[in-house]
Symmetry: C2
């Protein structure tokens, strides 16, 4: 018996992809770990003093209604997320689950292909198309219902 | 005014440490991310087919009453944890929180110093002394109550 493989080059990244065969794109690394916190200053104190991490930056992200502190660790980073409004998704997370890991971000070379592969495997996409993230990245979220309770963010870094 | 700095060499790793000043040991990377799952086979299917990760190994850890699949990603790995007994801590986690991120493991060059630093900063240690982990590692857990709801594991890899 022969199988026909649906092959194509990704329009977005140019990589050759045996679509649906799971050959590429491979996830490169954990880009970051988003942790929902009630008090950003207190959380920063814990992660810097008790774990000797350094704060790479703090910024407000109005679109997500959060204030974020970035703490690099190896090739990844910890993102401490404090909501700036009661309407923030992080506020709702804190109200129902309390502080803890809010999402896990995986880095991919081609978010378009990664999303298509995820969708072809039946995962429930929150973002069907990538949307602009911080610092020129493209990002998309996948619903935790389809990924063992973990809210997963896919991130494609900006081309250098 | 002068400050006296309590300096010493760590008996365990030999590193010079300005104890309590948070100079060393720095956490090197996210060693792994432990995800509690109800059905290991189904979880492996999601993470391999939808995200193109590969299974590096599957093993039972009788001391933790879990079956674990390791999926390397960059310098880290995902650990999918299925309980093998109702008495497993992962069973209790699943019963109360459902599937999701169970713990985050940070790698350190000296777990003894990392634990002392964490304790000096008032964190609640589950393991006051490191205990043997898989593959010659030393591990210790820190209670999520003191670390923004995140169960943190410290890992020191075996010397090469």
């Amino acid at each position: 018996m022969e199988y026909i493989v649906q092959a194509r080059n990704c329009k977005d990244c140019g990589n050759y992809n045996l679509f649906g065969k799971g050959l590429i794109p491979v996830l490169k690394k954990i880009n970051h770990l988003g942790i929902a916190v009630n008090d950003l200053e207190k959380a920063i104190e814990i992660f810097t003093k008790a774990f000797n991490l350094e704060v790479g930056g703090i910024e407000e992200v109005p679109s997500q209604q959060v204030k974020v502190a970035f703490l690099p660790i190896g090739e990844s980073r910890i993102e401490l997320l404090e909501p700036t409004s009661e309407d923030s998704a992080v506020s709702k997370f804190l109200a129902t689950r309390g502080e803890g890991v809010h999402h896990v971000a995986f880095e991919t070379d081609c978010i378009v292909d990664s999303l298509k592969t995820a969708e072809a495997q039946g995962l429930r996409l929150i973002d069907k198309e990538p949307r602009p993230g911080a610092h020129g990245t493209k990002v998309a979220f996948i619903h935790p219902k389809s990924t063992c309770g973990v809210l997963i963010e896919l991130v494609e870094e900006a081309a250098e």
